[in-house]
Amino acid sequence: MTQTVADMLVGTLERIGVKHIFGLIGDSLNPLADAVRRSKIEWVGVRHEEGAALAAAGQAKLTGQLAVCCGTTGPGSTHLVAGLYEASGDHAPVLALSGDMPRKMHGTDFIQTTEPDLLFRDVALYTETISSAAQAPAVIHQAIAAAYAGRGVAHLTVPQDVFETKAEGAVSSVGTLRPRPEIVPSEEDLAEIARRIDAAGTIVVMCGAGCHGAVEELRSLSDRLKAGSILFGPPTGYVKADRNGSSALSTMPRSELRSVRLTASRHSTARAR
């Protein structure tokens, strides 16, 4: 059977470990759904595309792996946007797919006309329309790489006729499409932080999205310093794996940091005594 652009996209997602696609089907997504049907990926149907985007955001935050959601032409894809802000705000790697009407309808005020790339510009780190089979491999790679690099939303619009068209080429360097490596701070910065900690009277550990993947280290630090911790983002597994009540307090906006710092300092001073 001839491989289509939809097959190429689904095949790439399969190779990088995507297990689910959250979405609500529609005419322009039919070729994508047919490719999913013939793959190992499970299609998770939802009742509203915002739910699909929130599900993908949640999955990406819990696993650190790329999660995928999709909506069909016009209202289907516009519904994705609100849910995607959760992924962009919490730095979760999500690929959002918008189906679109066949290209021959574009520019004719055809029913359900939208410009998804304009609409998704704010929420997405990368947004592009795939207009030809020849363009697909590089753009698919670029989108997924952007979602992982920035940890955020990448968005692709694919007109129905492009989804159906015969694939050209192949997505290269698929092995590079994975969570980005953690970056080690410089020795000087670490020494300076240790110096400040030693000099401080009371300490509270504030953990944002940058603490992703450092649950054990955070716990050791918190225990050793007898310091309370406040979670601002989702350092996955911190609360769930908590053994000894090392005070995961809550999530809150950064603007409230100052008052929290005072309260938490008193709290941790009391504990130290």
Binding site: G23, D27, N30, G45
Partner: protein, 126 residues
Amino acid sequence: MLMCEFLTAVHHKLPVKVIVYNNSSFGLIPLEAEAVGLPAYKQGIEFPNPDFSALAPACGGHGFRAMKPGELHAEINGALKVDGPAIVDCVVTANEMPNFPHLELDKLGNYAVAKIKEALLACTGP
């Protein structure tokens, strides 16, 4: 209308009467797949439905249900007579074919191919 806005109608005491043509399916979506020669994808198209006539009183409105053609008049009249929002859940056949949005000769061929594929899939599984 979004389903949650039935509660808005109740909230604001709006005399809105909602008729659901309940075919328990996304009727047009399978047809659009078949028009391009693809078998309808059951996993993406089939959803469980709520009992809309029970949903209405749960929201503070009135619920009615017509299962057979002969029941339709009485149920709609009932909905029109009550004060405030009401839902009439009218059960229609899922197999009734919607109109092709654009009817072209090649779509008929594609439709036939899709139907053959669906018959084969029914035997072989996905």
